[in-house]
Symmetry: C3
Subunit: 306 residues, 3 copies
């Protein structure tokens, strides 16, 4: 039962609960009209202490497509809430106005604190480099919808695996389903942290580490791309040398399976070449759409609306 | 008849008119569902020339909970209206789009000027240090709801009584009801202005001035707390010396009546200790909720919707 | 058939298509209630990469008055979309959330590029000094409504005819209707560009150039005023010398026909004296209202809603 719950970390929910959300999302996709008024009279508050237009608009369109309405702010800079008022008091005030809240905050843990004092469900819409659980929900729904299963998949994660929070959450979440394994593709400087590998070891989940996207791509069912940011490197030479090997282009795609899917949390800079946008395996814009649908399902579940 | 009227100063409305608004607010509270579509097709414009997130969201949730919709801006800085266009022209333009407007402005008198050229009702949502009449409506509804009466009350006002516009308006408004008296608790530097005292004298209303919250608290039915801002003092020593005596904490609350209520216009900084948030007499978050309900009633009245 | 089309340049639409939009706008005006739910469940995205509050609120109120809802941003500065994401990717993302988009951008051509990659209709809400076709729609609807015809009119354009994009579009659009002619009133420094005159010559449309508003006003059916900005002049003296001759005031209005109408795209600074706001010939605030109605019609047409 998810009614009244918060979503701060994707691991807050059991596999059954995740499946319930993903299942509802699929119901919505198959008959959107049926759900177009279920949140009539309900208010979502989008509390964005830092701008994240894509995520904010995903939440807002999700709520509106359910017949609900939205209040909020898109940037604490042009808001007065951050000045001289604690997050604790803010969420208590917002609890008086809205039925559910989505909070984005530059500080890790802020949405968790808010949830402790809130009388309405709080959704973490990203807290610093920490968690972004609705992005993971979007990733899961995309995989489930495009591959037809969450199990027995060879999942490649490519790019900045050190700082990329979406990759860590995806690995955690997909580790709960049967017989998935991981190919971790990154430059040496941006390898996956040890604690993630330890978790995989503890669960006896197979993984390979490699620095070559080209070599790895042929065996993958899912390829999750992330940005390789220049500022992560110690020197410019290394960056320039490595950059191109992590750009997914037409040539590299020729080595991939016909039914592999490419995901990316967006925004991309240049790590996926525009020339493959039309490739049917390029699913990153579908992922945006699935992100909206899964947020619709999440809002309904936390509000206890069926 | 309030239809088509503006609300610039709380004294614009007669006692009967105030009672009509408070009465409607109570009807809404007792059956919110009944009012959830009364403003369908109506638009509120929130014209916030300076950010005030709490007040803006209160108005917006009020309108949306009545089934209406909202357009507007939350900060003239990121808006183009303040540049090269007079308030007179802006309100004429807004009159074309919306059915009612709430205006917040750093300059005293700006909402008054707007109302003179507007063809839709204008609500003053705060103009500089001048007026903030919907805060006073929130205060009145909270007192009426929690105490069951607006008369025969001993009302304490504590903190910065010199600059605190909400206190001045509350005193004016509560002076119109029978047999209320006031205990004005402040440091010498922040005493209530003479013109307010003169008004009380003219109406033969009792009041006491004191600097001790501790001594006064025992006799009060209502305690209205406000912020004591450091920058109001001539020197740091005075501020440090006085500050703690105006912090409401558990110890001071032991001296208060069991049915006293504590109000605060928010945001608080530290003048009310978090340890009393759970005390049933602490009503400042209820006050936020009442603020939303009374704005719902006000919008309905000014639009002439029954 | 306008369903699914974009509006980037007013010349994208044929005269028949313009007439269809203006006709629908008139239907809406004559029975607004009938159209109040036609866009229920539809979302407009307002993508304002630079603030333009008047235009944004016109689009938003238009969509809401049709029963639709709005997502978006009002300033790319406080948004994250402009950083590290191309307009191409942004519009693809927005296409997942919304049913139609209105884009304002400081760069000429940006809405055109967006429309090429969008799966939803894109409306140009102003791109730099280039095009602002919905302003022209507003102008046309005002002329049609106030004069009862779009033909046989003597149209005066006054002020900055060199840089004023709304004037160029209006001339192009009105040139398509029968037997209109133009009086182009400006200081020498701000004369209409040659390419506009060439177009008029090619179509054998009459026009006069003059620097005297006073001399020209008597013969006009429509007077379209624009701002004369100080920074357009080479020296201050010229500006001061010329400024007053382009201010429309009571005295100059005495020379005009009784049924002439005055239009202005707003905001005005001082080029129309406030003393004539009450003159029945002053139609610039009516024009704002017509602008909202014509945007309602445009949204319906592009969404294919009848």
């Amino acid at each position: 039962m998810l009614k009244g719950r918060h979503l701060i970390d994707i691991m807050d929910f059991s596999t059954e609960e995740l499946d319930e959300i993903l299942g509802l999302a699929n119901e919505i996709i198959s008959d959107e009209e049926k759900f177009s008024q279920v949140c009539r009279g309900k208010l979502l508050a989008t509390l964005f202490y830092e701008p994240s237009t894509r995520t904010r608009l995903s939440f807002e369109s999700a709520m509106m497509r359910l017949g609900g309405k939205v209040i909020g702010f898109s940037d604490a800079g042009s808001s007065s809430v951050s000045k001289g008022e604690s997050i604790v008091d803010t969420i208590r005030v917002i609890s008086c106005y809205a039925d559910i809240a989505a909070m984005r905050h530059p500080k890790e843990g802020a949405p968790k604190i808010a949830s402790m004092y809130s009388s309405i469900p709080v959704i973490n819409a990203g807290d610093g480099g920490h968690q972004h659980p609705t992005q993971t929900l979007a990733d899961l729904l995309t995989i489930k919808s495009m591959k037809g299963t969450m199990s027995n998949l060879k999942i490649g994660c490519c790019g900045d695996l050190k700082f990329g929070r979406t990759v860590h959450s995806l690995i955690k979440a997909m580790s709960r389903y049967e017989n998935n394994n991981f190919t971790l593709i990154s430059p040496r400087e941006l390898k996956i942290p040890d604690y993630v590998k330890k978790e995989l070891d503890n669960k006896n989940i197979e993984y390979i580490e490699t620095s070559s996207l080209e070599a790895a791509i042929g065996s993958l069912d899912v390829l999750y791309m992330t940005r390789v940011q220049k500022e992560r490197f110690f020197n410019e030479e290394d960056y320039v040398r490595l950059r191109d090997s992590y750009i997914l282009d037409k040539e590299k795609m020729t080595g991939a399976k016909d039914n592999m899917i490419v995901l990316h949390p967006l925004p991309r800079v240049n790590e996926i070449s525009h020339e493959i946008d039309q490739d049917p395996r390029a699913c990153y814009f579908k992922q945006v759409k699935y992100g909206m649908y899964v947020r619709m399902a999440l809002i309904m579940e936390l509000l206890g609306i069926k």
